[in-house]
Protein backbone atom coordinates (compact mmCIF):
# COMPACT_ATOMS: atom_id res chain seq x y z
CA UNK A 1 0.00 0.00 0.00
CA UNK A 2 1.30 3.45 -0.94
CA UNK A 3 -0.44 6.31 0.84
CA UNK A 4 0.39 9.41 -1.21
CA UNK A 5 -2.43 11.56 0.13
CA UNK A 6 -1.34 15.13 0.74
CA UNK A 7 1.50 14.91 -1.75
CA UNK A 8 1.48 16.76 -5.02
CA UNK A 9 3.29 15.89 -8.22
CA UNK A 10 5.69 14.28 -8.70
CA UNK A 11 5.84 12.73 -5.22
CA UNK A 12 3.00 10.20 -5.65
CA UNK A 13 4.62 8.83 -8.81
CA UNK A 14 8.03 8.71 -7.15
CA UNK A 15 6.58 6.78 -4.19
CA UNK A 16 4.89 4.30 -6.56
CA UNK A 17 8.04 4.03 -8.66
CA UNK A 18 10.03 3.15 -5.55
CA UNK A 19 7.49 0.52 -4.48
CA UNK A 20 7.46 -1.00 -7.98
CA UNK A 21 11.24 -1.07 -8.38
CA UNK A 22 11.94 -2.34 -4.87
CA UNK A 23 9.35 -5.11 -4.68
CA UNK A 24 8.05 -5.77 -8.21
CA UNK A 25 4.61 -6.38 -6.66
CA UNK A 26 1.87 -8.25 -8.53
CA UNK A 27 -0.71 -6.09 -6.76
CA UNK A 28 -0.30 -2.61 -5.32
CA UNK A 29 -2.86 -0.30 -3.77
CA UNK A 30 -2.27 3.44 -3.95
CA UNK A 31 -4.16 6.26 -2.25
CA UNK A 32 -4.03 9.79 -3.68
CA UNK A 33 -6.19 12.81 -2.98
CA UNK A 34 -6.17 14.77 -6.22
CA UNK A 35 -7.09 14.22 -9.85
CA UNK A 36 -3.65 15.18 -11.14
CA UNK A 37 -1.93 12.50 -9.07
CA UNK A 38 -4.59 9.98 -10.12
CA UNK A 39 -3.80 10.68 -13.78
CA UNK A 40 -0.04 10.63 -13.29
CA UNK A 41 0.08 7.41 -11.26
CA UNK A 42 -2.29 5.75 -13.75
CA UNK A 43 -0.08 6.77 -16.66
CA UNK A 44 3.11 5.62 -14.94
CA UNK A 45 1.62 2.29 -13.83
CA UNK A 46 0.21 1.59 -17.30
CA UNK A 47 3.64 2.17 -18.76
CA UNK A 48 5.11 -0.29 -16.27
CA UNK A 49 2.71 -3.02 -17.40
CA UNK A 50 0.05 -2.71 -14.73
CA UNK A 51 -3.71 -2.69 -15.21
CA UNK A 52 -5.16 0.14 -13.15
CA UNK A 53 -8.58 0.27 -11.52
CA UNK A 54 -9.51 3.41 -9.69
CA UNK A 55 -12.40 4.38 -7.47
CA UNK A 56 -13.29 7.52 -5.55
CA UNK A 57 -13.57 7.28 -1.78
CA UNK A 58 -14.83 10.59 -0.43
CA UNK A 59 -12.24 13.14 -1.46
CA UNK A 60 -9.59 10.46 -2.10
CA UNK A 61 -8.93 8.04 -4.91
CA UNK A 62 -7.94 4.41 -4.45
CA UNK A 63 -5.97 2.85 -7.30
CA UNK A 64 -5.51 -0.91 -7.56
CA UNK A 65 -2.53 -1.83 -9.71
CA UNK A 66 -2.40 -5.41 -11.05
CA UNK A 67 0.49 -6.76 -13.10
CA UNK A 68 -0.73 -7.76 -16.56
Amino acid sequence: MVDARGYSCPMPVILVQKAVKDGHPEHLEVLVDNQCSLENVTRYASNQGYAVQSSQEGEDFRLVLTKK
Binding site: G6, C9, P10, E39, S46, N47
Partner: protein, 352 residues
Protein backbone atom coordinates in the same frame (compact mmCIF):
# COMPACT_ATOMS: atom_id res chain seq x y z
CA UNK B 1 8.68 5.55 -22.85
CA UNK B 2 5.15 6.89 -22.66
CA UNK B 3 3.20 6.81 -25.86
CA UNK B 4 0.02 8.38 -24.48
CA UNK B 5 -0.09 12.14 -24.81
CA UNK B 6 -3.02 13.96 -23.25
CA UNK B 7 -4.58 15.95 -26.12
CA UNK B 8 -5.27 18.80 -23.68
CA UNK B 9 -1.52 19.33 -23.32
CA UNK B 10 -1.15 19.79 -27.07
CA UNK B 11 -4.18 22.11 -27.22
CA UNK B 12 -2.77 24.17 -24.34
CA UNK B 13 0.65 24.47 -25.97
CA UNK B 14 -0.88 25.66 -29.25
CA UNK B 15 -3.31 28.05 -27.51
CA UNK B 16 -0.49 29.43 -25.36
CA UNK B 17 1.55 30.05 -28.50
CA UNK B 18 -1.31 31.74 -30.38
CA UNK B 19 -2.06 33.93 -27.32
CA UNK B 20 1.63 34.85 -27.01
CA UNK B 21 1.78 35.85 -30.68
CA UNK B 22 -1.42 37.88 -30.38
CA UNK B 23 -0.31 39.71 -27.24
CA UNK B 24 3.12 40.57 -28.66
CA UNK B 25 1.51 41.69 -31.92
CA UNK B 26 -0.92 43.96 -30.09
CA UNK B 27 1.54 45.67 -27.82
CA UNK B 28 3.43 43.42 -25.39
CA UNK B 29 7.25 43.58 -25.62
CA UNK B 30 8.96 41.44 -28.28
CA UNK B 31 9.00 37.70 -27.58
CA UNK B 32 7.07 38.51 -24.38
CA UNK B 33 3.50 37.64 -25.25
CA UNK B 34 3.60 35.74 -22.01
CA UNK B 35 6.27 35.72 -19.33
CA UNK B 36 5.23 34.76 -15.82
CA UNK B 37 8.44 36.06 -14.22
CA UNK B 38 8.40 39.36 -16.11
CA UNK B 39 4.70 39.93 -15.46
CA UNK B 40 4.98 39.18 -11.74
CA UNK B 41 7.89 41.63 -11.66
CA UNK B 42 5.72 44.22 -13.41
CA UNK B 43 2.93 43.66 -10.86
CA UNK B 44 5.47 43.97 -8.06
CA UNK B 45 6.45 47.33 -9.55
CA UNK B 46 2.84 48.44 -10.05
CA UNK B 47 2.26 47.84 -6.35
CA UNK B 48 5.32 49.94 -5.51
CA UNK B 49 7.27 47.02 -4.08
CA UNK B 50 10.17 48.12 -6.27
CA UNK B 51 10.94 51.42 -7.90
CA UNK B 52 12.31 50.43 -11.31
CA UNK B 53 10.23 52.82 -13.40
CA UNK B 54 10.50 50.79 -16.61
CA UNK B 55 8.88 47.61 -15.30
CA UNK B 56 5.68 48.65 -13.54
CA UNK B 57 2.27 47.53 -14.78
CA UNK B 58 -0.50 45.45 -13.23
CA UNK B 59 -0.48 42.75 -15.90
CA UNK B 60 -3.97 41.38 -16.63
CA UNK B 61 -2.49 38.15 -18.02
CA UNK B 62 -1.49 37.00 -14.52
CA UNK B 63 -4.95 37.70 -13.13
CA UNK B 64 -6.49 35.87 -16.07
CA UNK B 65 -4.29 32.81 -15.67
CA UNK B 66 -5.17 32.42 -11.99
CA UNK B 67 -8.89 33.12 -12.40
CA UNK B 68 -9.17 30.98 -15.56
CA UNK B 69 -7.64 28.07 -13.67
CA UNK B 70 -9.95 28.74 -10.72
CA UNK B 71 -13.11 28.73 -12.83
CA UNK B 72 -12.06 25.53 -14.59
CA UNK B 73 -11.15 23.86 -11.29
CA UNK B 74 -14.51 24.84 -9.80
CA UNK B 75 -16.33 23.50 -12.88
CA UNK B 76 -14.48 20.18 -12.74
CA UNK B 77 -14.77 19.96 -8.94
CA UNK B 78 -10.97 19.95 -8.63
CA UNK B 79 -10.84 23.14 -6.55
CA UNK B 80 -9.51 22.13 -3.14
CA UNK B 81 -8.05 24.36 -0.47
CA UNK B 82 -4.81 22.72 0.54
CA UNK B 83 -1.60 23.88 2.13
CA UNK B 84 0.89 23.51 4.92
CA UNK B 85 3.72 21.89 2.98
CA UNK B 86 6.76 23.94 4.05
CA UNK B 87 5.28 27.36 3.18
CA UNK B 88 8.27 29.44 4.32
CA UNK B 89 10.65 27.23 2.34
CA UNK B 90 8.44 27.63 -0.69
CA UNK B 91 8.43 31.41 -0.24
CA UNK B 92 12.24 31.37 -0.22
CA UNK B 93 12.47 29.07 -3.22
CA UNK B 94 9.98 31.25 -5.11
CA UNK B 95 12.13 34.31 -4.44
CA UNK B 96 15.29 32.62 -5.73
CA UNK B 97 13.50 31.20 -8.78
CA UNK B 98 12.76 34.83 -9.58
CA UNK B 99 16.41 35.80 -9.05
CA UNK B 100 17.43 33.14 -11.58
CA UNK B 101 14.68 34.00 -14.06
CA UNK B 102 15.47 37.71 -13.97
CA UNK B 103 19.16 36.96 -14.47
CA UNK B 104 18.10 35.30 -17.74
CA UNK B 105 15.19 37.71 -18.36
CA UNK B 106 12.30 35.33 -18.56
CA UNK B 107 10.47 32.36 -17.11
CA UNK B 108 10.86 28.95 -18.79
CA UNK B 109 7.80 29.56 -20.96
CA UNK B 110 9.25 32.84 -22.19
CA UNK B 111 12.48 30.99 -22.91
CA UNK B 112 10.50 28.77 -25.29
CA UNK B 113 8.74 31.81 -26.77
CA UNK B 114 12.09 33.56 -27.21
CA UNK B 115 13.50 30.50 -28.97
CA UNK B 116 10.47 30.47 -31.27
CA UNK B 117 11.39 34.02 -32.21
CA UNK B 118 14.91 32.94 -33.14
CA UNK B 119 16.65 34.12 -29.95
CA UNK B 120 19.47 31.60 -29.51
CA UNK B 121 20.32 32.98 -26.06
CA UNK B 122 17.12 31.24 -24.99
CA UNK B 123 18.51 27.89 -26.09
CA UNK B 124 21.38 28.41 -23.65
CA UNK B 125 18.84 29.28 -20.96
CA UNK B 126 16.72 26.19 -21.67
CA UNK B 127 19.78 23.94 -21.49
CA UNK B 128 20.61 25.59 -18.15
CA UNK B 129 17.04 25.08 -16.96
CA UNK B 130 17.22 21.40 -17.85
CA UNK B 131 20.55 21.10 -16.02
CA UNK B 132 18.99 22.62 -12.90
CA UNK B 133 16.08 20.21 -13.15
CA UNK B 134 18.47 17.28 -13.49
CA UNK B 135 20.19 18.28 -10.23
CA UNK B 136 16.85 18.74 -8.46
CA UNK B 137 15.57 15.44 -9.87
CA UNK B 138 18.56 13.64 -8.37
CA UNK B 139 17.53 14.96 -4.96
CA UNK B 140 13.93 13.88 -5.63
CA UNK B 141 15.18 10.38 -6.36
CA UNK B 142 17.26 10.56 -3.21
CA UNK B 143 14.22 11.22 -1.04
CA UNK B 144 13.74 14.99 -1.15
CA UNK B 145 10.28 16.10 -0.07
CA UNK B 146 8.72 19.27 1.29
CA UNK B 147 6.33 16.93 3.14
CA UNK B 148 2.61 16.63 2.71
CA UNK B 149 -0.08 19.29 2.52
CA UNK B 150 -3.34 19.23 4.43
CA UNK B 151 -6.91 20.27 3.76
CA UNK B 152 -7.60 23.88 4.66
CA UNK B 153 -10.78 25.86 5.08
CA UNK B 154 -12.47 26.68 1.76
CA UNK B 155 -11.68 30.38 2.21
CA UNK B 156 -7.92 29.76 2.24
CA UNK B 157 -7.83 28.79 -1.43
CA UNK B 158 -9.74 31.87 -2.52
CA UNK B 159 -7.51 34.44 -0.77
CA UNK B 160 -4.83 35.11 -3.40
CA UNK B 161 -7.10 34.71 -6.45
CA UNK B 162 -9.54 37.09 -4.74
CA UNK B 163 -6.80 39.56 -3.84
CA UNK B 164 -5.51 39.58 -7.41
CA UNK B 165 -9.02 40.11 -8.77
CA UNK B 166 -9.73 43.01 -6.39
CA UNK B 167 -6.39 44.69 -7.09
CA UNK B 168 -6.93 44.27 -10.83
CA UNK B 169 -10.35 45.92 -10.68
CA UNK B 170 -8.83 48.70 -8.58
CA UNK B 171 -6.05 49.15 -11.15
CA UNK B 172 -8.74 49.79 -13.76
CA UNK B 173 -11.05 51.88 -11.58
CA UNK B 174 -8.48 54.00 -9.74
CA UNK B 175 -5.26 53.76 -11.79
CA UNK B 176 -3.63 56.54 -9.75
CA UNK B 177 -3.23 54.06 -6.88
CA UNK B 178 -0.78 52.05 -8.97
CA UNK B 179 2.51 52.78 -10.65
CA UNK B 180 2.63 52.53 -14.42
CA UNK B 181 5.71 52.65 -16.64
CA UNK B 182 5.82 55.41 -19.22
CA UNK B 183 8.79 53.87 -21.01
CA UNK B 184 10.52 50.49 -21.22
CA UNK B 185 8.97 47.01 -21.20
CA UNK B 186 6.38 47.97 -18.55
CA UNK B 187 4.92 50.59 -20.87
CA UNK B 188 4.42 48.08 -23.67
CA UNK B 189 1.16 46.23 -23.29
CA UNK B 190 -1.64 44.72 -25.32
CA UNK B 191 -5.14 46.08 -24.59
CA UNK B 192 -6.18 44.89 -21.14
CA UNK B 193 -9.32 43.12 -22.38
CA UNK B 194 -7.28 41.02 -24.81
CA UNK B 195 -4.63 40.33 -22.15
CA UNK B 196 -7.27 39.25 -19.64
CA UNK B 197 -9.10 37.01 -22.11
CA UNK B 198 -5.85 35.36 -23.24
CA UNK B 199 -4.94 34.76 -19.60
CA UNK B 200 -8.35 33.30 -18.79
CA UNK B 201 -8.34 30.91 -21.75
CA UNK B 202 -4.77 29.74 -21.26
CA UNK B 203 -5.29 29.47 -17.49
CA UNK B 204 -8.35 27.28 -17.93
CA UNK B 205 -6.58 25.06 -20.47
CA UNK B 206 -3.42 24.81 -18.37
CA UNK B 207 -5.54 23.67 -15.42
CA UNK B 208 -7.01 20.85 -17.53
CA UNK B 209 -3.71 19.82 -19.08
CA UNK B 210 -1.33 20.46 -16.10
CA UNK B 211 1.09 22.00 -18.62
CA UNK B 212 4.42 22.74 -16.95
CA UNK B 213 7.91 23.26 -18.34
CA UNK B 214 9.68 22.04 -15.20
CA UNK B 215 7.37 19.06 -14.86
CA UNK B 216 7.82 18.25 -18.54
CA UNK B 217 11.60 18.00 -18.37
CA UNK B 218 11.48 16.32 -14.94
CA UNK B 219 9.09 13.60 -16.17
CA UNK B 220 11.34 12.84 -19.13
CA UNK B 221 14.32 12.49 -16.78
CA UNK B 222 12.61 10.52 -14.01
CA UNK B 223 9.94 8.48 -15.79
CA UNK B 224 10.71 8.64 -19.53
CA UNK B 225 7.27 10.26 -19.78
CA UNK B 226 6.90 12.70 -22.67
CA UNK B 227 3.31 13.81 -21.94
CA UNK B 228 3.93 17.16 -20.22
CA UNK B 229 6.87 18.21 -22.38
CA UNK B 230 4.62 18.02 -25.43
CA UNK B 231 3.00 21.27 -24.21
CA UNK B 232 6.10 23.47 -24.43
CA UNK B 233 7.10 21.58 -27.62
CA UNK B 234 3.83 22.60 -29.27
CA UNK B 235 4.19 26.11 -27.88
CA UNK B 236 7.58 26.34 -29.59
CA UNK B 237 6.31 25.07 -32.95
CA UNK B 238 3.30 27.42 -32.83
CA UNK B 239 5.38 30.49 -32.00
CA UNK B 240 8.00 29.55 -34.59
CA UNK B 241 5.42 29.19 -37.36
CA UNK B 242 3.65 32.39 -36.25
CA UNK B 243 6.85 34.42 -36.22
CA UNK B 244 7.82 33.11 -39.66
CA UNK B 245 4.40 34.08 -41.05
CA UNK B 246 4.51 37.49 -39.35
CA UNK B 247 8.11 37.95 -40.55
CA UNK B 248 9.28 38.52 -36.98
CA UNK B 249 11.64 35.56 -36.86
CA UNK B 250 15.18 36.79 -36.23
CA UNK B 251 17.74 34.01 -35.76
CA UNK B 252 20.82 34.86 -33.72
CA UNK B 253 22.22 35.95 -30.39
CA UNK B 254 22.54 39.70 -30.94
CA UNK B 255 19.82 42.32 -31.00
CA UNK B 256 17.06 40.19 -29.47
CA UNK B 257 14.22 41.95 -27.65
CA UNK B 258 14.51 42.16 -23.84
CA UNK B 259 17.48 39.79 -23.76
CA UNK B 260 21.24 39.81 -23.23
CA UNK B 261 24.00 37.70 -24.73
CA UNK B 262 25.98 36.59 -21.67
CA UNK B 263 25.77 32.84 -22.20
CA UNK B 264 27.32 31.76 -18.90
CA UNK B 265 24.87 33.76 -16.81
CA UNK B 266 21.91 32.90 -19.01
CA UNK B 267 22.79 29.27 -18.31
CA UNK B 268 23.40 29.72 -14.58
CA UNK B 269 20.34 31.90 -14.02
CA UNK B 270 18.03 29.34 -15.59
CA UNK B 271 19.84 26.46 -13.89
CA UNK B 272 19.02 28.12 -10.56
CA UNK B 273 15.41 28.60 -11.65
CA UNK B 274 15.20 24.97 -12.82
CA UNK B 275 16.54 23.58 -9.58
CA UNK B 276 14.10 25.71 -7.60
CA UNK B 277 11.15 24.80 -9.82
CA UNK B 278 11.71 21.06 -9.52
CA UNK B 279 11.91 21.34 -5.72
CA UNK B 280 8.69 23.36 -5.78
CA UNK B 281 6.99 20.81 -8.05
CA UNK B 282 6.34 23.16 -10.94
CA UNK B 283 7.41 26.14 -13.02
CA UNK B 284 6.07 29.68 -12.37
CA UNK B 285 3.11 29.07 -14.72
CA UNK B 286 2.18 25.91 -12.82
CA UNK B 287 2.41 27.79 -9.50
CA UNK B 288 -0.17 30.29 -10.80
CA UNK B 289 -2.45 27.50 -12.00
CA UNK B 290 -2.21 25.63 -8.68
CA UNK B 291 -2.97 28.90 -6.88
CA UNK B 292 -6.17 29.03 -8.91
CA UNK B 293 -6.96 25.46 -7.82
CA UNK B 294 -6.89 26.54 -4.18
CA UNK B 295 -3.35 25.45 -3.32
CA UNK B 296 -2.14 27.91 -0.71
CA UNK B 297 1.43 26.53 -0.85
CA UNK B 298 1.56 27.70 -4.45
CA UNK B 299 -0.02 31.01 -3.41
CA UNK B 300 2.84 31.48 -0.94
CA UNK B 301 5.28 30.61 -3.73
CA UNK B 302 3.74 33.28 -5.96
CA UNK B 303 4.06 35.78 -3.11
CA UNK B 304 7.70 34.69 -2.77
CA UNK B 305 8.21 35.39 -6.47
CA UNK B 306 6.67 38.86 -6.10
CA UNK B 307 9.01 39.47 -3.15
CA UNK B 308 11.98 38.13 -5.12
CA UNK B 309 11.15 40.42 -8.03
CA UNK B 310 11.10 43.41 -5.70
CA UNK B 311 14.51 42.47 -4.28
CA UNK B 312 15.87 41.95 -7.80
CA UNK B 313 15.13 45.54 -8.74
CA UNK B 314 15.73 47.21 -5.40
CA UNK B 315 19.14 45.52 -5.01
CA UNK B 316 20.17 45.72 -8.67
CA UNK B 317 20.10 41.95 -9.22
CA UNK B 318 18.04 41.83 -12.41
CA UNK B 319 19.77 41.84 -15.78
CA UNK B 320 18.92 44.24 -18.55
CA UNK B 321 19.56 44.19 -22.27
CA UNK B 322 23.05 45.46 -21.38
CA UNK B 323 23.75 42.23 -19.49
CA UNK B 324 23.89 40.87 -15.95
CA UNK B 325 25.02 42.88 -12.93
CA UNK B 326 27.67 41.96 -10.37
CA UNK B 327 25.00 41.99 -7.66
CA UNK B 328 22.92 39.65 -9.76
CA UNK B 329 25.82 37.22 -10.18
CA UNK B 330 26.40 37.18 -6.42
CA UNK B 331 22.68 36.61 -5.80
CA UNK B 332 22.61 33.66 -8.22
CA UNK B 333 25.64 32.16 -6.45
CA UNK B 334 23.89 32.60 -3.09
CA UNK B 335 20.82 31.02 -4.68
CA UNK B 336 22.74 27.85 -5.51
CA UNK B 337 23.89 27.59 -1.88
CA UNK B 338 20.28 28.03 -0.74
CA UNK B 339 19.07 25.35 -3.18
CA UNK B 340 21.75 22.94 -1.96
CA UNK B 341 20.88 23.52 1.69
CA UNK B 342 17.12 23.20 1.09
CA UNK B 343 17.69 20.06 -0.99
CA UNK B 344 19.93 18.39 1.58
CA UNK B 345 18.00 19.37 4.69
CA UNK B 346 14.71 18.11 3.23
CA UNK B 347 16.05 14.80 1.96
CA UNK B 348 15.15 11.62 3.81
CA UNK B 349 18.04 10.09 5.66
CA UNK B 350 18.99 6.56 4.67
CA UNK B 351 17.56 4.06 7.09
CA UNK B 352 20.37 2.55 9.16
Amino acid sequence: MTKKINPWVIVTGVAFGVAALLLAHFGNPGNMGFCIACFLRDISGALGLHSAGVVQYFRPEIVGLVLGAMVMALCTKEFKSKGGSAPATRFLLGAFVMVGALMFLGCPMRAVIRLGGGDLNALVGIVGFAAGILVGALFLKGGFSLKRAYNQTKLEGFILPGLLAVLFVLSLAIPALFRRSEEGPGSMAAPWVLALICGLVVGALAQRSRMCMAGGIRDVILFRDFNLISGPANLFVTVLIGNLILKKFNLGFEGQPVAHTDGLWNFLGMALAGWGCVLLGGCPLRQLILTGEGNSDSAVTVLGMLFGAALCHNFGLASSAAGPTLNGKIAVAVGFVVMLLVSMLNSAKKEG
